[in-house]
Amino acid sequence: MHSFGYRANALLTFAVTILALMCAMASFSDNLNHPSPSSSVQVLNVNWFQKQPNGNDEVSLTLNISADLQSLFTWNTKQVFVFLAAEYETSKNSLNQISLWDGIIASKEHAKFWTHTSNKYRFIDQGSNLRGKEFNLTLHWHVMPKTGKMFADKLVMSGYRLPKEYR
C-alpha cells in the first residue's frame, strides 16, 4: 500500500471481485422465487388446410393466446422470451414441435396479456399426417436474467384436434 498506483489497483481488483460475488448472489436469489404462471389458448379458426406440392401438409390457424406470466419476473429479470409450440406424434417422429408464435416480454406490466393472431410461423408437417391429428399447444418461456442463470419452463395445454379433411 506504499503508492497511489498500488492502492488504486488493490481497490479496483477487490471492488470487481465483490461485484462478481454480488451478481452470483443476485442470480441465486432467483431460486427463492416460486412462480405460478397461467395460460390458455383458443383455436378460433382453421383458416385453410392444404397439402403442399412437395407433399407436406400445411395448416393456418387463428389463435387467441392469453397468459399471465407476471409471477415469473424477479428483480433480476431482464426479459421473458415466450413461444407457443404445437406438439404431436407421427409414425415417423415420436415428437414434432412447431413454433407457431413467439414474443418478448420486457417488463412485468406487459406480462399479463392476450393476443388475437394467426400463426406467426408456418405450421408445416414433415409429411402428410395432419388430417384429424390430435395435438397439444405448449407455451414455453425463458426467463432471461440481468445476471446469472436462465430459467426455462413450459405449460402444456392439450385437447386440440385438426379437421379430418383439407379445407
Binding site: M1, A10, F14, I18, A26, T74, W75
Partner: protein
Amino acid sequence: MDWQGQKLAEQLMQILLLAFAAVSFGTGYVLGSFQMMMLIYAGGVVLTTLVTVPNWPFFNRHPLKWLDPSEAEKHPKPQQQQAQAVSSKKKPAKK
C-alpha cells in the same frame, strides 16, 4: 504514507467496500431494483477511492523516525574489503 497509514488504508478499503456491497445488495433486493444496487455500489466504490487512495495527512500520523544526519556521521558504515584478485592470463599457443 507511513506503515501504520498503509495498514489503515488497506483495512479501510476492505471494510468500506464490503459494507457498501452489503448495503447495496440489501437495498436492491428489498426495493426489487437491480439498478439501485448498482448505483449504490458504484457510489460506494468512488467514495472508498476518495478516502483510501490519495495520500491524506491522517495516513501519516506515525512518520518514520530517520536518524539525524549529524548522528549518522558518528557511526560510519564499515568499509568493504577490496578483493585482491590476481588474474593470470594465458595466451593461447599459436599453432
